[in-house]
């Protein structure tokens, strides 16, 4: 007769039991359904986003071709039959009617988390005059409100996965007690704490295994190149495993109290509500209350007032503008109206800057508040990390906005001297037009920090369980 390791028996028969209870089949099927559906949804959004960007780029290319033909004709001295405001040799026309597309293409993993992508623009066409890009990019409502709205993979992982863990692990001890098996188990020379930990661990391994396999199989099918971005893939898998471990350890601790299955289920659901729903929404509410953002109506109104004032003193403004930009002064050609317009735009930008800054500061404070408080909920930690992995985080959009802002200045500055010097735009200048290529922010500091924080949570729960198990006798787990 051999002396066996009792854990091996425990794992083997627990696995057989779960298989016969159809748990594994249920988990496999449910997770497959959820993962496939959520990735499909994410893919739809990404396709839509990329579709609109590609369409915009195609339109610009088409316009450029037409513009080149027109420039050829004009430069050859032919008369072209297009209205004045379509003549590409006029720099103000070229700067407005022939813009570039400043696009933020979807990341390789963008379908994982919608993040901020459903509230920000993914492409703009900065022009020499007209719209204020600051207005377009300044998100005036709190993005946190829209943070949890899509049925994407992050929704499945953050919201639904804990519920599956709760259903799978809420009664790992109480079930045996209620079925009357625990007394027989406890009559054996084993530690009930270790026995319970083994049960939780086996279930964790099973669920984690199913989930990882599903992700590795389904992600490539929606266009995610696992090996091209092995870092992000690993981060996604580690985050998922860490978050899953957190919920299993919480279920383990709740079971350690030795209460009934019903009590465990209610307690775990209460934790889920607190960590996944209440804390994030409370942070959102406090962000709104503590750092309110001024209204969009006020911004628009102030912009109108500044515009009217600027028009009234157009002559003075032009003189003042030329004093500030002597390199543009002293040229006779060009439209006086356009010169006055650009001069007034410069003033408008300066005038509205404090209002925009006020919005920006409030938003930054809100985001800093949300960022700092994310550590109180593993759900927020995972959301932040997944948004970063997907390239849909607030950081990505702020970075994109800055790049567009820089590009729009470069675009305007390319044409402004031509307008003030009264020079034409030529076909040769096409090659020198500023271009835009989005550069995603480097690093993954948020996901790394959040992953560490989730692991710290797991460590605390495991440590808490060990301390508790040492302080309390196994008898506390037995039926009264």
């Amino acid at each position: 007769m051999k002396t066996p390791n009792s854990s091996r028996y425990h794992f083997r028969y627990e696995f057989i039991s779960l298989l016969r209870q159809r748990w594994l089949q249920f988990l496999g099927f449910t997770l497959l359904l959820l993962v496939v559906f959520s990735l499909y949804n994410g893919k739809q959004k990404v396709d839509l986003r990329m579709g609109t960007i590609n369409e915009a780029i195609a339109t610009v290319k088409e316009k450029d071709s037409l513009g080149v033909i027109l420039l050829d004709s004009i430069e050859a001295g032919h008369t072209v039959s297009v209205p004045r405001w379509y003549m590409p040799n006029k720099p103000n026309v070229m700067g407005y009617n022939y813009p570039r597309v400043a696009a933020m293409p979807a990341d390789n993993m963008a379908m994982i988390a919608t993040g901020q992508s459903d509230i920000y623009s993914h492409y703009v066409k900065p022009t020499m005059y007209g719209e204020s890009f600051e207005l377009n990019f300044t998100e005036l409502s709190n993005p946190v409100q829209l943070m949890f709205g899509s049925f994407d993979l992050s929704f499945v992982l953050i919201y639904l996965l804990p519920l599956i863990v709760i259903a799978f692990a809420y009664n790992i001890l109480s079930q045996e007690r209620e079925q009357g098996i625990l007394s027989l188990v406890a009559s054996h020379p084993i530690s009930l704490y270790n026995w319970l930990l083994q049960k939780a661990f086996l279930r964790y391994i099973i669920l984690a295994g199913i989930l990882i396999v599903l992700l590795l199989v389904t992600l490539p099918s929606v266009g995610v190149s696992l090996f091209a971005d092995i870092g992000k893939t690993s981060t996604l898998l580690l985050l998922t495993l860490g978050y899953l471990l957190f919920w299993f350890l919480l279920a383990f601790l709740i079971n350690l109290r030795g209460k009934s299955s019903a009590n465990n289920a209610v307690t775990l659901i209460a934790w889920w509500i607190a960590l996944v729903l209440l804390l994030p929404s409370s942070i959102n509410q406090t962000a709104n209350s503590l750092f309110p953002v001024p209204s969009r109506a006020r911004l628009v109104n102030e912009l109108r007032v500044v515009n009217v004032e600027a028009e009234k003193k157009a002559d003075e403004l032009l003189a003042s503008f030329l004093r500030d930009h002597p390199e543009l002064a002293g040229h006779e050609g060009g439209s006086q109206g356009w010169k006055e317009y650009f001069a007034s735009q410069d003033l408008i930008r300066k005038e509205i800057q404090p209002v925009l800054d006020e919005y920006e500061v409030s938003l930054q404070r809100q985001q800093a508040w949300v960022d700092n408080l994310r550590f109180i909920s593993p759900a927020l930690l995972l959301q932040g990390a997944l948004n970063e992995v997907s390239g849909t985080s607030t950081k990505h959009y702020k970075n994109y906005r800055q790049q567009v802002s820089d590009f729009s200045i470069a675009w305007r500055d390319f044409f402004m001297p031509l307008v003030f010097r009264g020079e034409d735009f030529t076909k040769a200048m096409m090659a020198d037009l500023p271009g835009f290529t989005y550069q995603p922010p480097a690093g993954n500091s948020t996901s790394t920090a959040n992953m560490i924080a989730i692991m710290v949570y797991c460590g605390l729960l495991l440590g808490g369980g060990l301390v508790w198990s040492r302080k309390r006798s196994s008898r506390a787990l037995m039926p009264a």
Partner: protein, 239 residues
């Protein structure tokens, strides 16, 4: 060997077991009789280490249960009133699993033989336990006790609810374990079974062991009369 030395267990102000002194030697079957709430199950639970004594000591083969709970469990086998097994495992799988928990390993043929020896019909060996009767589960419990090679057996009303045939088979299994030198403490309501299988009989009342008898020294009828008298007479008040 089992020993209870000045053993007491109270819940709040209620004494479930009071100053119990008891000894079960190797090869003895000690049957504890008593009304519901007399303290029989509490005594078994104290020996199992499921609960801590308020006072006194419980020993299994000389080991203190309170301080060496896991060590004492290596010597013990336990069959509760209603032995429950994992319903979606078969009888042989349950036996293999619990043997594994006890640190024992047997091959399939050995496990089958043990179950058949304990009276389980061969056609049920590979059937899920959810289809077992109480008697069949008790037989798996006995097979487990044998497989564990325990020197001490604790039984809490094991024949309660069993039909006479199953009860008789159970008694025979107990006697076969007695022959192997197993010390058995059995809480029961079945006076006949206690007389037939027991070597000693104790009668508990309101947490106290009020009588301890040699089973051979009394007939079933005398035991019944004695038991009923004990239950009827009010417990003498301490002065």
């Amino acid at each position: 060997m089992l020993e209870a030395i000045n053993l007491s267990k109270s819940y709040g102000g209620h004494m479930a077991v009071s100053d119990l002194n008891l000894s079960v030697a190797t090869g003895d079957i000690y049957c504890l009789l008593g009304a519901n709430g007399a303290g029989k199950t509490t005594t078994i639970n104290l020996f199992m280490g499921f609960i801590n004594p308020t006072a006194g000591q419980v020993k299994v083969n000389g080991l203190d249960v309170a301080s060496e709970s896991n060590e004492t469990k290596k010597h013990l086998a336990y069959i509760p009133e209603n032995l429950m097994l994992y319903p979606n495992l078969t009888g042989i799988e349950n036996l293999d699993f619990f043997c594994g928990l006890a640190g024992k390993s047997y091959d399939k043929e050995q496990l089958e033989e043990m179950l058949i020896d304990c009276g389980l019909q061969p056609e049920f060996i590979h059937t899920w336990v959810s289809q077992y009767s109480k008697g069949m589960r008790q037989k798996v419990g006995i097979a487990l006790a044998r497989a564990r090679e325990a020197s001490v057996l604790l039984l809490d009303e094991p024949t309660s609810g069993l039909d006479p045939k199953a009860s008789n088979e159970f008694s025979e299994l107990l006697l076969s374990m007695k022959e192997k030198g197993v010390a058995t403490l059995m809480a029961t309501h079945d006076l006949f079974r206690a007389k037939e299988t027991g070597t000693h009989i104790g009668i508990m009342k309101q947490g106290e062991l009020v009588h301890s008898l040699e089973a051979d020294a009394i007939t079933v009828l005398e035991l019944e009369e004695f038991y009923l008298d004990t239950m009827t007479i009010a417990k003498p008040q301490e002065s």
